[in-house]
């Protein structure tokens, strides 16, 4: 089963990388970009076919390692 964990910075957390990308897009002349926040995407292959179990596994992975919940939120999806 294919799955995806998306990790994003919580709102209010300063994101200097996002700011730099935002600045670069502006200097490239890409119009209409109001702001950029950088995050991470993990594409994960889950063994077995039990969807509920896969979601529990992904949640455990995110809580234990993939996200630092002090500053980040995450979303899990079984695709």
């Amino acid at each position: 089963m294919k799955a995806r964990v998306t990790v994003t910075l919580k709102s209010g957390i300063l994101d200097p990388q996002g700011k730099a990308i935002e600045g670069a897009l502006k200097s490239l002349g890409v119009e209409g970009v109001a702001s950029v926040r950088q995050g991470k995407v993990f594409d994960i292959e889950i063994a077995g076919a039990d969807k509920a179990r896969a979601e529990a596994t992904l949640k455990a992975a995110a809580d234990k390692l993939l996200a630092n919940t002090v500053i980040e939120n995450y979303r899990v999806e079984v695709l």
């Binding site: 200097p16 390692l65 993939l66």
Partner: protein, 233 residues
């Protein structure tokens, strides 16, 4: 003082640390590999040194913080044992939940590698008793992610409980915007946990301990730990 220096793949400041510990305590520290599940018998101080554990993959210190040896460090700290984390070590201690908050990318995005001045906020702790409160020391930093951040509640707690031990300052000891090299909240360079036995700091005191280094301001931190342990013994 019997110290144990943790070694993770990608760590590169462990020998500087071991040299400083030997020089000041007179005892050769034990190097402890990350896959170990226990610390050497009679350890007084655990040091998590600087470097780039696991290539800073995922988040700085995130993977090292989940290594087997960290369970032993957690138990050691819960027992009141002294733990010092420097640079990547500070990041590892935050990721391991031994210290609150997180070290974010430097506000101006640059890797910073030069001497900085730190104000020692108090002298009545094992990690600062080698200094006077308000003393200014000069030590090097070398990091890209040293911008300490925590939520308002945590910052209030840190300040209220006097847990900020080292702050970036000017050579005269003034804490201001200009001397806050990485944009850290409240110019925080080093904090302790609630119990006061775990210190994390971004600067490298171990690199200013011998005349040949051009400065010996870092000695006080280690000398203070030695004095603290001798007094406790």
């Amino acid at each position: 003082m019997k110290s144990a220096v943790l070694v993770f793949p990608g760590i590169n400041r462990e020998r500087d640390m071991a040299r400083a510990l030997k020089l000041i305590s007179g005892h050769e520290p034990q190097m402890v590999w990350h896959a170990e599940t226990s610390l050497p018998e009679g350890t007084d101080l655990v040091v998590v040194p600087g470097g780039f554990s696991y290539g800073d993959y995922l988040r700085c210190g995130a993977i090292a913080a989940r290594a087997p040896v960290m369970d032993a460090v957690r138990a050691f700290a819960a027992d009141g044992g002294l733990v010092l984390g420097v640079c990547n070590g500070f990041q590892i201690l935050c990721e391991a939940g031994l210290l609150p908050g997180v070290l974010m990318r430097n506000a101006r995005l640059k890797f910073i590698c030069h001497d900085v001045h730190l104000r020692v906020e108090r002298s009545d702790t094992p990690f600062t008793r080698g200094y006077n409160a308000g003393q200014v020391i000069r030590v090097p930093v070398a990091h890209g992610e040293g911008n300490y951040e925590a939520d308002e509640e945590t910052l209030k707690q840190l300040e209220g409980e006097g847990r900020v031990l080292y702050r970036y300052c000017s050579p005269e000891g003034v804490v201001d915007e200009g001397s806050n090299i990485n944009g850290a909240a409240h110019s925080i360079a080093g904090i302790v946990n609630a119990r006061g036995n775990v210190l994390g700091m971004m600067p490298h005191p171990e690199n200013h301990v011998e005349g040949i280094m051009g400065c010996t301001d870092g000695r006080g931190l280690f000398a203070g730990l030695v004095a603290h342990l001798e007094r406790a013994a």
